[in-house]
């Protein structure tokens, strides 16, 4: 996993609620191997959502509530990532999407509904307005310069900062798992 510490970039507005993972990557593309470029199929049937900026120019998505709801397909994160995005800002995320994102070096930032609405308004007036993220300080700097704090679990933050993998850590705990298994009576 690639580390993510700071990011300053143009942002893409997707001013919609409930953008589901079927929209982010339609199911017919899920059979592609991970080695292929999923950026090609990001919002495949609604490519206009990606706006006029060239691919890779915007690295942050700002969207309405419940972004990434629906199917557990990790391909949704892969498609955003491969296209060039590294973070999304929304009032809420689909739980599984959020978890998948953090495991791929993609930062899901939850901010208050009115703060996100404000950012979407700025982006509507000024497409490509810039936003800055700082994982260490847990801050988002909005286009107007206002700084907002966001929450993230300490371990997920550490993994992002160091590009570290959860699995590597868990494997170091194999003894604890074995100990649990010895005492465990299955339900």
């Amino acid at each position: 996993m690639q580390a993510l510490r700071q990011l300053e970039s143009a942002a893409l507005a997707i001013p919609r609620a409930n953008v589901d993972t079927d929209q982010i990557v339609p199911a017919r593309f899920l059979k592609r191997p991970r080695s292929e470029d999923f950026g090609e199929v990001l919002f495949h049937d609604q490519r206009h959502l990606l706006g006029a900026m060239p691919r890779g120019a915007a690295r942050i998505v700002v969207a309405g509530r419940n972004f990434g709801c629906g199917s557990s397909r990790e391909h949704a994160v892969w498609a955003l990532y491969d296209y060039g995005f590294r973070a999304a800002i929304a009032p809420s995320f689909g739980d599984i999407f959020r978890s998948n994102a953090l495991k791929n070096g993609f930062l899901p930032v939850v901010l208050a509904e009115e703060v996100v609405a404000g950012m979407l308004q700025v982006l509507a007036r000024t497409p490509g307005a810039r936003i800055a993220l700082d994982v260490e300080r847990q801050t988002v700097t909005a286009p107007g310069g206002a700084v907002h704090h966001f929450d993230i679990e300490p371990f997920a933050r550490q993994c992002l900062l160091e590009g570290q993998d959860e699995l590597d850590y868990t494997l170091t705990q194999a003894d604890r798992i074995a100990e649990f298994e010895r005492a465990y009576e299955a339900p």
């Binding site: 589901d20 079927d22 739980d95 495991k103 371990f155 868990t170």
Partner: protein
């Protein structure tokens, strides 16, 4: 303590200071979409830690017009389905192949075999894993990286969700099913209403539901944004499980039963959130838009964006009406359909097929409508055939097909064509869900059958 809390605590291997817990997984289901996780393991040189806790069945990519993978038109689909055989074979993971009479949708097969049981922690790389919570288990969907993590360690890191209780009391009116109930719940609390929560469904209505109805309700918890949905195990749960192939037997059964009886939420259990619903107020529901929260009683009309509470909602309604090809104010019963799909992990069980067959019996599928029945598993199909339901469907003009996920998400090529409108007993009406440009209306299996025989969305209570 809540049911959720009791199961959570039993499975904690490690706890971090930030409240994240490493949880032990009792049952890990795999399906033919699991290829990327096996690839991740291979790249790291890892092998499954406890292969006997995993079980695999192909469902997403299998054909439903035959039992031969060679009939899949797209060779890439075939490769995906075949990869499951290779991956699980090499890992020593038990599997039902396509040729096995017990093959089916993983969320139908697991409970059917007694592999999902009360108190278990169950995961699968599929969001509808919440289905298994109906048995009093903590069950949720995970992504590919997490599937690889579970294979390698038999554990999973989880942030503890909050506990939410949805209490439904009263009697469901005639013609109103578990599907209508869960659609009414989602319409009430919204598609994001339960984000970050594990839902426990409770109350007299839930207690009165059959196990199959409870599966339907828990299945769509994810459509309300929930991490999991569950129902406390009771005598119905135990009767359902007794004698199933993987259920405990003899003295083991008695011991298990004693543990299961203690699982329910304590009388003084505290929930972070409570919602309630009156079952008597629910009518047969259909969706009109592109989110499961866009559900209305069949007696209603297509809503008018002009009455939306704010601009964002108005725009989203306009977009949905445009995609769905609907005009505001149209009575829902005037919407005509070209396709009907009865099946899926939500509504592909025997009671679902019985309720649809009761409507189809002695009637004909309307002209210009293509209607499919896809049983949730080979065993459901066999049971339906033993009861003569297949004949009822075929005589009415339905296609009677083999088990699989099929047109719910159409990964196997069972698509609904662009612009076609489908009455569907599935779980998602997202844009393009059943195929690019396909227009999906969610409803119960009986309502699907009513749509098939009338050629339009119809109130099943009015079909005399």
């Amino acid at each position: 303590m809540t049911l959720f809390e009791k199961i959570w605590r039993r499975h904690v291997v490690l706890e971090r200071e930030d409240g994240h817990a490493l949880l032990y997984v009792d049952r890990h289901y795999l399906q033919d979409g699991s290829g990327p996780a096996f690839e991740m393991l291979r790249r790291r040189g890892l092998k499954p830690r406890v292969p006997q806790r995993a079980f695999a069945v192909p469902d997403h990519y299998v054909p439903t017009d035959s039992r031969d993978l060679a009939t899949l038109r797209d060779p890439a689909n075939r490769r995906v389905a075949e990869a499951l055989t290779r991956n699980t074979g090499a890992a020593g993971i038990a599997r039902f192949d396509l040729s096995d009479a017990r093959q089916g949708i993983v969320h139908v097969v697991g409970p059917e075999q007694g592999m999902s049981r009360p108190g278990m922690l169950i995961v699968c790389g599929d969001s509808h894993t919440s289905t298994h919570g109906a048995l009093g288990a903590l069950a949720f969907g995970i992504g590919a990286t997490e599937v690889a993590h579970v294979l390698a360690t038999q554990t999973l890191w989880q942030k503890k969700p909050k506990a939410m209780r949805i209490t439904v009391d009263g009697t469901l009116p005639e013609g109103v099913t578990a599907k209508d109930l869960i659609l009414a719940i989602i319409a009430k609390i919204s598609a994001a209403g339960a984000v970050g929560h594990a839902i426990e469904y409770a109350g007299s209505t839930i207690a009165a539901l059959s196990m199959e109805g409870r599966f339907t309700v828990c299945n769509m918890s994810i459509e309300a944004g929930a991490r999991a949905g569950m129902v406390a195990p009771d005598d119905k749960t135990f009767a359902y499980l007794e004698g199933r192939p993987s259920s405990p037997k003899g003295a083991d059964w008695d011991r298990a039963l004693a543990r299961w009886r203690a699982l329910g939420s304590d009388a003084d259990a505290k929930f972070d959130r409570e919602e309630s619903l009156d079952a008597g107020s629910i009518a047969p529901m259909v969706t009109w838009g592109n989110s499961p929260e866009d559900a209305l009683p069949i007696t209603g009309r297509v809503p008018d964006p002009a009455s939306a509470p704010d601009a964002a909602k108005r725009e989203s309604m306009l977009r949905a009406l445009d995609y769905m090809g609907l005009a505001p104010g149209t009575p829902l019963t005037e919407i005509t359909v070209e396709r009907v799909f009865i099946g899926s992990c939500t509504n592909g069980r025997i009671e679902d097929l019985r309720s649809a067959a009761a409507v189809a019996k002695g009637r004909k599928v309307a002209s210009g409508v293509e209607a499919w029945v896809v049983p949730g598993s080979g065993l459901v199909k066999a049971q339906a055939e033993a009861e003569g339901l297949d004949r009822i469907f075929k005589e009415a003009g339905f296609q009677w097909r083999y088990a699989g996920c099929s047109s719910c998400l159409a990964t196997n090529g069972d698509t609904v064509a662009s612009g076609e409108r489908c009455a569907s007993s599935t779980n998602r009406n997202f844009q393009g869900r059943q195929g690019p440009g396909a227009r999906t209306h969610l409803m119960s299996p009986a309502m699907c059958a009513a749509a098939a025989v009338t050629g339009r969305l119809a109130d099943v209570r009015r079909l005399a």
